[in-house]
């Protein structure tokens, strides 16, 4: 257990987290806390601190992540966590499955070049190629619109015909019907 007398006050830790979140970054717990996760939870509860309720401790694939919900949504934090840990295939799959289930829509490959992913084309292409033959990602399918832009969708959550037509609508149809 860290020394409470020398540990930073929760408010200061909270500001670090908020600053990161404001800039689109999540923090790993171990970047700001020297002890275990359980110790952090205990310490936080022991702090007579108000006004830090926006600081969220989230677990993503066994890792403890901190973000401020004042400046970041959980959806973004989850995506950022995948990207931070360079768990690229998992990040892609989670995003694609989420979009296929939620909106529903296929996910343009171009999305993974944007924050919080910022995957290079080479890394992305390699990851996608590997996923297409990996049974863990057997539901992830790749399709292409008529303008050549690539999309991924999850066959668990989307009918392939629907995914194909939506990809075409997003890539081409919208611009033809502005």
């Amino acid at each position: 257990m860290p020394d409470f007398d020398t540990a930073e006050p929760l408010e200061i830790l909270a500001e670090k987290v908020r600053d990161s979140s404001r800039n689109g970054k999540i923090l790993r717990l171990d970047e700001v806390w020297p002890g275990t996760e359980a110790e952090f939870i205990e310490w936080r509860q022991a702090q007579a601190s108000t006004g830090t309720g926006d600081i969220v401790l989230m677990r993503e694939r066994g890792r403890a992540i901190l973000y401020s919900e004042r400046h970041m949504t959980r959806a973004y934090a989850e995506a950022a966590a995948c990207a931070v840990y360079e768990d690229i295939r998992y990040a892609i799959a989670q995003t694609v499955r989420g979009e296929s289930r939620t909106y529903p829509r296929p996910t343009p490959l171009a999305l993974f070049g944007e924050a919080p992913f910022l995957f290079s084309k080479q890394i992305l292409d390699e990851a996608v190629e590997a996923m297409l033959t990996d049974p863990d990602y057997g539901d992830i399918r790749r399709i292409q619109a008529s303008d050549g832009s690539g999309f991924l969708f999850s066959s668990v959550h989307m009918d392939p015909a629907h995914a194909e037509s939506l990809a075409e609508w997003m890539a081409v149809g919208h611009m033809r019907n502005p």
Partner: protein
Amino acid sequence: MQSYGGWTGKTLRVNLSTGKISQEDTARYKEYLGGTGVGYRVLWDEVPAKTRSFDEANKIVMGGGPLTGTSAPCGGRTSITTIFPCVYPTELVGTGHMGGHWGAELKYAGWDNVIVEGKSDKPVYIAISDDRVEIRDASHLWRNGIYRATASICQEMGPETQVAAIGQAGENLVRMSVVMNAFSHSAGGVGSVFGSKKLKAVAVRGSGSIKIAANAQEWKKLRRYVLSLMGGNNQHVVPSTPQPWSEFSAPRSRWTARKGLFWGAANPVIETGECRPEELNRIGFRTMKATYDLGPEAEKHTVRMGGCASCPIRCHSQIDVPSVEAKYGVSRYAASTCVGWNGRMYFKSFPDGPAGTTSIEAAVVGKHMADDYGVWTCYSQLQRDFRWAYENGFIKANLPAEEYKSIDWSKCEAGDPGFLKELYRRIALREGEFGIAFGEGPGYLAARWQFPQSYFNSEATHYWKMGHPGHHANEDAGQAGVLINLIYNRDAQCHSHSNFVRNGLPTSIQKQLAEKLWGSGAVDDVQNFTRMNPDKAKFAVWALLRKELHDSLTLCNWMYPMVASPLKSRNYEGDNGIEAQLYSLVTGDRKDAAELDLVAERIFNLHRALTIRDMGTAEMRTVHDVIPDRIFDLPENKQPFTPGTNKMDREDMETAKDLFYQALGWDRKTGAPTRATLERLGLKDVAEKLAGMGLLPV
């Protein structure tokens, strides 16, 4: 009108035949608000049935409404209502709508509307400086493009003057022509009516202000509330890329601002950045429209965004493309939005690809040619018709051999933007068969060149009916989109429904919002439509009534209604009563949303009555409200109501019409308003007239 805010109380009437200039009390039009409402009423009362667009008896009704120029957010539009030249085969009532600053300036000058009647025997323009109104000689402006005419009039009247002008296209009675103000804000399809009256422009300078009923605090509070609900362009309420503050994103959202996206030709460059919903002073950065419309290459050319009076959205991209000056002899500076950039669509390809420099050059050259000559492209129908006719041999087949040889087709093949200078000149000046035919508009062109059924059935042409294309039809909103595209005599220009279905929120949330407004059955997953139901009829009716309301108040139908918002704290709900709140505070005439929708319904029914009267039939269902076969037949390998298609079903659309007419109180068999409905809406005189003509359903 003196007891109400918003309106000035004065309507200007200018008779170009007699030279008489008079003013009337706007009070007689109060129950029609302004804009299209006043336009339809004037046409009903004063323009005889079956008047043609270029007849002296046709009138032009221009103006905004009680909200125009009051600083109501996005309250800067002007409606121009007349007998619309492009309607095929019978010219019927239609409206061109323009943004910019003209409508607000008219209000500052003390006028609600301008009614132009008669016909001058020589070129003139109407000069309005507050109370001083003159019909001035325009012979020195005639045969000038819109740019020079605007500049010249500003030299004569002052640099603050707002000029609504036509170019050579309008002068030469090209049906496909516009009226334009502020160099990039056009009212489509109405230019040649101006030209038929030898009216070059209506120019206005106003030094006054507009009284509103609310006190300053109330007004500021409401404006702030409206801004808090605002999304990006087209009321898209999520950003186009994942951003920390937002739960959702949508790749085709027009909320395109993000870190690393710049107005790259500004000095210094300006980053659009992350624009959070609560940052109301950054609304104008949300929509980086240049890259949305023109691709990533446009970023380095973007100086800033511009737009209309009282609008924080700023959807007009102002770009600088230096290369066009030396290469094509047009200004390097260009402002436009959306289809205004579609000069690119005339070309099959460009030497440097679809989104390279040449494509942007074509966009700029096309914009300058169209906007200066004053040619209307009708939601890019002109471009689609050109490509179809060219690729299918109809241009070669219909042009005299000498004329065909005189056009440098190698430029078209090579993707050379210089081709557009020739194309637009020919159309604007009605040069040869090419110029005449393409300037007539889709319906007349198709008849003139005897296009086969494949033209009408082609998704590539996007033809709908009566000389106009489909505009946010089944591809956006299934049956509701189709119904919306049945009603008008030009393309629908309705965005109430498409803004909602494209707002970027998941369908599940859209359904929750829809449930409160029309019923959760109103919206489907796009490209996975279900059968017709009463909720969809309500959705279609709501969309149309709100569009009519916006064109009469005026508010921008690309932003309102705001029934969705970017605020998670409100579960993404907007406010369906926003228009009524704005109207009530500005005018002092307290109405809730339902009461204001009733006014819209009155205006909407008057449009229908005008259409019936001037078509000489009440058989709207079978004669007017026709649906192109392609939406039932294409794609061939798909079945309606299966995932992955927007193909519709004929029987289902008949059900749709039944439910739609029922929701409107129209006769199911004919699609015509009943006497009961017209009387309910305060249109008893209209009912009597139609009954007398045998045009009221039994």
